[in-house]
Amino acid sequence: MAQTNIVLEAKDITKQFPGVLANDGVNFNLRKGEIHALLGENGAGKSTLMNVLYGLHLPDKGEIYVNEKPVLIHSSNDSIALGIGMVHQHFMLIPVFTVAENIMLGDETVRRGMLDQNAVAEKVNQLSKQYGMDVDPLALVGQLPVGVQQRVEIVKTLYRDAQILILDEPTAVLTPQEADDLFRIMRDLTKRGVSIIFITHKLKEVLAIADRITVMRAGRTVGTVSPKDVNPEKLATMMVGREVNLVILKKQANPKEATLVVKDLHVEDDRRYPAVRGVSFEVHAGEVLGIAGVQGNGQTQLAEALTGLRPTQSGQVTLAGKDITGKTPRVITETGLANIPEDRQRHGLVLSYTIADNMVLCNYYRPPFANGVVMQPDQIDANARQLIKDFDVRTPSPFVPASKLSGGNQQKVIVARELSRPIKLLIASQPTRGLDVGSIEYIHSRIIQKRDEGAAVLLVSSELDEIMVLSDRIAVMYRGQIVDIVPAANVSKEYLGLLMAGVKLEDAVKSAPKQEKEIKVERVF
């Protein structure tokens, strides 16, 4: 397997979209049994290249070779026939169907005019045993955790005899543990001769798993390197095209009075099950309190309750000495809250509105943006121009709809809007999810800047790295409760991992075997 045995090659691929040259003479090749990472910022052209390889776009120029034979890929059917399988970032699964039904979808096995679920189930069992992937073919997809749903997608491609696998940002939706599982599966697959293209913008993952790394920037390939020869700083520089600060420089926090006080808060989720079960904490002016935890342990509901988007069952929340329990978002905002919501497209923006309108979404009714009931477009435009400059939003004009911006720039619009107001408390939920290195760097520095200006910051994130970089104190949530609150300065990632699994140190000592198991998981990562 050492010799250069190329299974897929793209030569000089060029693809023009209205207004953007998405791929400009891109060259890329994949060897048999390797994991080849494709790294680049949002908008660098990674997805376009993959969509060309998977037959979703026709290139304007360039050739594709599979097993050294030139091919034309006009549709996903062509690529499947050539043994190329793709797992999209957003899964293409039907939640109310079983795993077996989803896997045969589009390629149904029929027996006497009826779907033969058993035959499919058998083959799925065989495949999952062969590749070490635990999947129950008769389970309903909607009831499976996200990590397992992703396995279903992978099995689906293997079921169609894929020898080349394209994974588009596969870890974006996974917990650290699930990501470890995925990496183990990827290694198993390559041992069995499957070749994998791994699209991502996370540097650490690439260095941990890839055999080769190709970096793209602005529609071109910057270069292909081996992980042995590079470090995160060098990769980041290749991606962004300039030096990037991966380590944020922040001064010692200078905490003052308690700005946000939460006492014994109880909150229910959408299905009316308890999601936050008796949480108490304080956030002081001038400090960042990070809420860590595996996704789905009540952090989302906690943030929504604190910002007024979700009713509270019991408990008390005070902001700057004022009781805001169960108050409306407007009252809380006027008390001094800035809210960077978890789902930027659902809560944070009206996508068809212009950037200018989105930048006054929370204070459109106040002077100078409105004079009585009449809105003041001149003021709104001037505000947008100023914020676009101050927060480095990349857009041709303030009148562009928010839907036309990249994810990073959309998030910058929200950050600009929220941080440009005088505030006492910032609640930031997953503030950099899905963003590129440059945007992450920028948004992190803005959050720290707000802290240093004396705001209290509550940071909710499932990215442990982000929590550790930004926080002064870290609260870990597990099953709706805070397991422990620890100072960020001298806590290890291993201990946080234990807390995220619900184990406190004194408990951990008592149940030693469990602790050992958890630490092993960390080592694999």
């Binding site: 979209f17 209205p18 953007v20 998405a22 680049g40 910022e41 949002n42 908008g43 660098a44 052209g45 990674k46 997805s47 376009t48 290249l49 969509n51 979703l56 776009h57 699209i199 913008h201 793209m216 910002t307 988007l309 409306t328 978002p329 407007r330 905002t333 809210n339 919501p341 659902r346 809560h347 944070g348 923006l349 009206v350 996508l351 068809s352 509105y353 309108d357 979404l361 929370c362 459109y364 009714y365 409105a370 009931v373 009449v374 809105m375 009148f399 839907s403 036309k404 990249s406 994810g407």
Partner: protein, 375 residues
């Protein structure tokens, strides 16, 4: 200098967006006219003669123009009602019922109020009162549906349809019962004539077009101003486009939904009230059949933009009005017009057909492509 450049490019932008958004409706109308022409030839008529009749009958004389304006008046009000609801993310199928109630209450004030009071009222009080009471009736009727949607989640499409049944049958009950014109010669389910003091005067001597048409244009301008220039309009549009973001932004979503339906119902009620006070001077069972439903078509064709609604309403009015002349010239049935309207709507709703025929690229598709760039 630069500001000048900016404002001229802004003007160009507005013009561009206006032509872009009116392109599909225009092509839909063109296609419908061609398809309609083919069908006329198939049934043995002469399409050119038919369309000439249609144009003559709707625009060919002072009287024709006046009648087109008369038809257009309720269409504009009711079209605005549906369009406003669309902007707020609501589908008001109940304009027909709201309109009927507006007409009932407006006519009640028009014929009965002087009797109740025991003295005649001056026009300056009686006429506005009759119109406002009709508006309020429509507003309350739709507001109930809005409140049900906002506070219980009951879907407005189902509830407006149900409220239509209640409104239309209640109207029928009233017009056949206590509100029926008691004069011995009357056998029709209709109210007595309203007092002179509750009537809108005509604009020109001898033509039926009344000041209600001008009011409709003013109201259309007001709705445009409300939606685009005021905080309330911003709230209505935000709730319509993204209720979750609206809640996040501190907008009272439930109140806004209720209010949007109230305003929508008031516009529909206004359509009924103006028909009574400006044209028929009484409410008669069956006079309004279809206005409220045509209004949905008009709002769709006008892309829910107040100016678009006015133009679409005038087009529909012209077609209805010219149909008689067309039938007179060509012996083709007036129902052909309903068919033509249906075709226009079909091509607007299924705009992929029109885009395919005229090779118009979809803007929406381009947005999807843009998302594909993100890697």
């Amino acid at each position: 200098m630069q500001a000048e450049k900016q404002s001229s490019s802004l003007a160009r932008q507005i013009l561009k967006s206006a032509t872009e958004s009116s392109l599909i409706p225009f092509l839909a109308i063109l296609t419908a006219v061609i398809v309609g022409g083919i069908i006329i030839s198939i049934v043995g008529g002469n399409p050119f003669q038919a369309y000439r009749g249609l144009i003559e009958g709707s625009l060919g004389s002072q009287k024709a123009l006046s009648e087109t304006a008369v038809w257009a008046t309720p269409y504009i009000f009711a079209g605005l009602a549906v369009a406003l609801a669309f902007k707020g993310g609501l589908f008001n199928i109940g304009a027909e019922g709201q309109l009927a109630l507006g007409a009932v209450f407006s006519s009640l004030i028009g014929y009965a109020l002087p009797g109740w009071l025991g003295f005649d009222l001056p026009t300056i009080i009686h006429l506005p009162l009759a119109i406002i009471v009709g508006m309020i009736a429509g507003g309350i009727w739709a507001g109930v549906v809005g409140a049900l949607k906002a506070y219980t989640g009951g879907h407005e499409v189902i509830n407006t349809i149900m409220m239509n049944y209640i409104a239309l049958n209640t109207t029928s009950f009233l017009l056949n019962g206590i509100m029926k014109d008691k004069s011995p010669t009357n056998v029709i389910a209709r109210t007595p004539m309203i007092a002179d003091s509750a009537r809108i005067p005509t604009i020109f001597e001898g033509l039926r077009v009344h000041w209600g048409f001008l009011l409709a244009l003013l109201v259309a301008f007001f709705i445009w101003w409300l939606l685009t220039k005021t905080t309330l309009g911003f709230e209505i549009r935000t709730v319509g486009l993204n209720p979750d973001a609206a809640k996040y932004a501190g907008i009272n979503v439930k109140r806004t939904i209720t209010l949007t339906m109230v305003f929508s119902g008031m516009l529909a009620g206004l359509a009924g009230a103006i028909e009574v006070t400006g044209l028929n001077f009484r409410h008669e069972l069956g006079f309004s059949i279809g206005y409220g439903f045509d209004a949905i078509a008009i709002a769709l064709l006008g892309k829910s933009h107040p100016l678009g609604v006015v133009l679409a309403a005038i087009l529909f009015a012209a077609m209805r009005n010219g149909a008689t002349r067309m039938q007179f010239i060509t012996q083709l049935p007036v129902d052909l017009i309903s068919m033509l309207q249906a075709f226009i709507l079909l091509f607007v709703a299924a705009d992929a057909i029109v885009r395919y025929i005229y090779r118009v690229k979809s803007k929406g598709e381009r947005v999807v492509l843009t998302r594909g760039w993100g890697g």
